[in-house]
Symmetry: C3
C-alpha cells in the first residue's frame, strides 16, 4: 500500500465525520517578520509591541491572517488536495489573538455534502476549528469546496450520499463578535496609527480606493504559501498546470489586499470575523494587484467618547483587482463579477468608536 | 474627502514644522534572519550573540542598517511619497544599538526649503529622529529630497516660500561619533571575525575591491523594502513606471554593498555615522552589483595595544557599481559619476585599533 | 597586499592542518520561519514546540539541516571557494539538536590530499566540526572537494604532496548513532505527525515516490544560500557563469528533497547521520524538483511496544530528480546516474519503532 497521502475524494467524506489535521505549528516572531516581508502591512497593533500594550493587550499578537492561513493550511491535505475549487467561507470568528509561542492545531467536521449532477464531483462543507496549546479555540470557520470523486459516476447519481446543505449565516452577527480580552481604545494613538478616522467617519455604502498596487512575483507567493504549510500542488509545481504557470494561493491575495487597505483603513486594527469570501478569478505572477473597500455596516460594541474612544465594528467588503479600477465596480450588469475582480471578502474589523 | 494619504507636496512643508510619522515598529529576531536571507552579511557582531558579548555588549544588536531602513521607511509616506528624487543624506549618527524587542518611532523636522526655478518642484530638507520605546534617540539623520509641487507655478516663482538652506556638515566630526555603551575590543577575536586587519592596516587613500557580485532579483528587493514598511510605489508597482520595471530601493543597494564589503573590511563591525550618500543611478532586477571601498580618514577613539586593541574609526567611501570595475573609478574626467556607479556612500565604521 | 580573501588553493592545504572558520552564527526563531518559507517542511517535531515537548525534548530544535547548512557554510570561504566540485560527504553525525539561541562555530582539519594527474587540481579531504556556545560538538562530518591549484603543474606531478586518502566509513554504524538527550517516542502522536507508519512498516528495498514537485526560483535558492552565509559565487552572480544562470546550491536541493519526503516519511522526525551524498547534476531556476526514497536498512535502537513506541533508525536513500521519475531509477545500465537525478543522499533518520 502506498505510504503517501493521495488526499480525500468526495466518496471519503461523511456528514458528522471529524478529521484531526496533521502538523501542529508554533507561531514565532519569525513569522511576523516573514509576513512583513511578503505583504506591505503597516497596521500599528501587529507592527508595534508598544502600541499593542497601549490598547490593553498583555502580549503582542501577530496579524489575524497569519493565524488563519496556518490553521487553514492544515486542512488542505485532508480536505482540498483533490479540490476543483474553493467555493466559499462563512462564520469565521477569531476567538483570541494568536501570539508568538502559540501552537495551533486544526480539526474539521464535515457538516454538509452535495454530489454534483454530473457525477464527477461534489461539494463538501466543513467547519474547522483551530485550537492553541491550552486547548482553547483560537479561530473557527466554515468553508465549502468542490472535490473530485475518486470514481466518477454517471449522471444518475447512483450511490450519491444524501444531500445535506448546512445553514450558514450570511454574516456573523455583530453581537457574536469577540473583542480580545483586555482590548481598550480609550488611549488610542491616532498619530502612531497613521490616520484620524474613527467608526463614525465611515458611512455605510462609502467606498475607499486604496490607491497602491503591488506586482506579484513567483517567489513571494510560494514563500507565503509554504509558510502556512499549504501543500496544494497548483501553487508550487509549474508542471502541474497546462500553461506552466503557478496559481497564486487565494490567501496571498487576501493578505495583500488587507495590507493595501491600510491606506484609508489604518485604524481597522483587528479582524474579528470573516463573513464570506469568494476568489472571483485566478491570479498569476506578473499581475499587479490593487484593492478597494466598501463599508457594509457599522456598529458600536463598547461606547466611548471623543477623548476616550470606545470599540466599534466596521463590516467591510474588501475587493482585490487585477489592475486598478477607480470606478470600484464589483459586478457587471449581468450580475457577474466585473473583469479584473480577484477577491470579494466580507469581514468585520474592530476600530476606535 | 478622501481617506487615503496622497502624500505631502512641496507646498505642504514649512520650515520648523514637525511631523510625527506613523506606525511604530518592533524589531525582532525575525528581522535579523530576513536581513541575512536578503544580504550576504557576515559581520561577526550582528551574526553572533557570543561575539557581541565578547566585545562588551549585553544584548545582541541587529545590523545598524536594519534600524536605519526601518526608521527611514516611516518618513516616506509623509516626506517623499511625491518625491522626484532622493538627493542626499548628512549628519546621520547611530546613538545606540538597536536590539530585538526595541520599538522604533520616527519624527522629522523641516529644516530647509528651496523651490526650484522651474516652479514645478522644490527641495525639502528634513532632520529625522528615531526613538526607541524608552524615548531615547536611536538614530538621527538629515536628508533632502526633491518633491513635486501640487500646483506647478510658472517660472516667476510666485508664492514660493523663503529659501532656507540648512548648514549641514560635510562629515560627522570624529569627536562626535558615539561608541555603543560597553563596547570594548580588548578581547577581540580576529579569527572568529574573519580577517586580521586593524585600523592601522588601512591607509588613507587605499582602495579595496570587494570582489564578489550579486545579481538582483525582483522578489528580494521587494521583500527588503516591504520589511522596512517603505511604501514608495516605484519599488512595488511595475505599472507605475513606463518601462514596466520596478526601481530597486536605494537602501537595498546600501545594504548589499555593505554586506559585500565584509570581504576586506570584516572588522569594520559597527556603523557609527553616515556622512553623505548619493544614489548615482538607478538599479533594476537582473543587474549584478559589485562594491569597492576607499579609505577617506582614520582616527583612534580609544587607544589600545597590540594585545588589547582599542577602538578606532575608519571613514570609508563605499561605492556600489553595476558590473565590476576593477579600476575603482568614482568619477570621469567631467567630474560626473562614472558609468555603472550606483551608490556613493560616505560613512564611519568602528574597528579594532 | 590585498585585504580580500582569495580562498585557498590546493597548494595551501597540508594534512593535519586545522582551520578555524570565521563568523560564528547565532540560530534564531527567525531561521525557523525563513526555512519554512523556503522549503515545504511539515515534520511535526521542528514545526511544533508542543510536539517537541511531547517527545521529551526540553527545548524546540530547528531542522537538523539548518544547523548543517550553517556549519557547512562557514567552511566555504576557506575550503571550497576555489572548488571545481563538491565530491562527497561521509561520517556526518548530529551530536545534539540545535535550538534557537545556540551559536555555531566550525573548524576543519585536513585529513587527506590527492593531486590530480592533470596537475591542475587536487582533492582535499576535511573533517569539520561545529560546536555550540558551550564548546560542545553539535555536528561533525567529512567531505572532499576538488580544488584548483594556484599554479597548474604539468602532468608529471612535480611537487605534489604525498597522497593521503582517509579511511572513511561507507555508512555510520547504527551503534554510533546519537539519540538526542531525553528523546522518547512512547507517547508519540501519530495523528499530529500526519502518518501512521512506524519502523516496522518500512521494508528494506522499499521505494517511496514522494509525489509532489516544486519549481525552483532564483530568489528562493539565493535567500536560502545567503541565510547560511555560504559565499560561493556561482550561486549569486549570474555573470560568474558563461550561461548567465546561477547554479542552485546543492544544500538547497537536499533541504527541498527532505521536505518533500514528508509525504511518506512523516515520522522520520530526526536526521541522526548522513552517510554519503552526491550531487549528481546541477539544478537551475525553472527546474521542477521531485523526490523519492529507498529504504536501505532499519534497526531498533530502543525497543518499544505497540502502545509505547521505542526508537528506531531507518537508513534511507533520498533521491531528488529534475522532473518526476515514477520508475524511481537511480542508475542506468552503464552504472551512471540516470538522467534527471540531481541528488543521491544516504542518511539515517530516527522514527518510532
Amino acid at each position: 500500500m502506498s505510504k503517501t497521502n493521495p488526499g480525500n475524494f468526495f466518496e471519503d467524506f461523511q456528514v458528522g465525520q471529524v478529521i484531526e489535521h496533521a502538523t501542529p505549528r508554533t507561531v514565532t516572531e519569525g513569522d511576523r517578520a516573514a509576513y512583513g516581508s511578503l505583504y506591505p502591512t503597516r497596521f500599528a497593533l501587529p507592527s508595534s509591541a508598544v502600541f499593542a500594550a497601549s490598547v490593553g493587550l498583555d502580549q503582542h499578537p501577530v496579524e489575524e491572517l497569519i493565524g488563519f492561513h496556518i490553521a487553514f493550511g492544515k486542512t488542505v491535505p485532508d480536505v482540498s488536495l483533490n479540490a476543483v475549487a474553493n467555493l466559499g467561507y462563512a462564520e469565521c470568528r477569531f476567538h483570541q489573538p494568536v501570539v508568538p509561542g502559540d501552537t495551533l492545531s486544526t480539526k474539521s467536521e464535515v457538516i454538509g455534502l452535495k454530489q454534483n449532477s454530473n457525477g464527477k464531483s461534489g461539494v463538501v462543507y466543513v467547519r474547522s476549528t483551530a485550537t492553541n496549546q491550552r486547548g482553547e479555540v483560537a479561530i473557527e470557520w466554515a468553508r465549502w469546496v468542490m472535490v473530485h470523486k475518486r470514481v466518477p459516476a454517471d449522471s444518475t447519481a447512483d450511490g450519491a450520499p444524501e444531500t445535506v446543505i448546512p445553514d450558514l449565516a450570511k454574516a456573523v452577527d455583530a453581537t457574536d463578535l469577540i473583542v480580545p480580552e483586555g482590548l481598550v481604545f480609550s488611549a488610542y494613538d491616532f498619530t502612531a496609527a497613521g490616520e484620524p478616522h474613527r467608526l463614525e467617519d465611515y458611512e455605510i455604502g462609502e467606498k475607499i480606493d486604496h490607491v497602491d498596487g503591488v506586482t506579484l512575483t513567483a517567489s513571494e507567493h510560494q514563500q507565503a504559501t509554504r509558510l502556512w504549510q499549504n501543500t496544494a500542488k497548483v501553487h508550487f509545481n509549474a508542471e502541474a498546470r497546462p500553461d506552466g504557470r503557478n496559481l497564486i494561493y487565494g490567501g496571498h491575495i487576501i493578505s495583500l489586499a488587507r495590507a493595501l487597505s491600510f491606506n484609508g483603513l489604518a485604524n481597522a486594527q483587528v479582524i474579528a470575523a470573516i463573513n464570506a469570501g469568494a476568489h472571483a478569478s485566478p491570479a498569476f505572477a506578473g499581475d499587479t494587484v490593487y484593492a478597494w473597500s466598501e463599508v457594509l455596516d457599522r456598529t458600536v460594541l463598547e461606547p466611548g467618547s471623543a477623548e476616550a474612544p470606545g470599540i466599534g465594528a466596521l463590516r467591510l467588503r474588501l475587493v482585490a483587482t487585477k489592475g486598478r479600477d477607480e470606478s470600484m465596480t464589483l459586478r457587471g450588469e449581468d450580475g457577474k463579477y466585473a473583469p479584473g475582480v480577484l477577491l470579494d471578502l466580507d469581514y468585520w474589523a474592530l476600530i476606535p468608536a
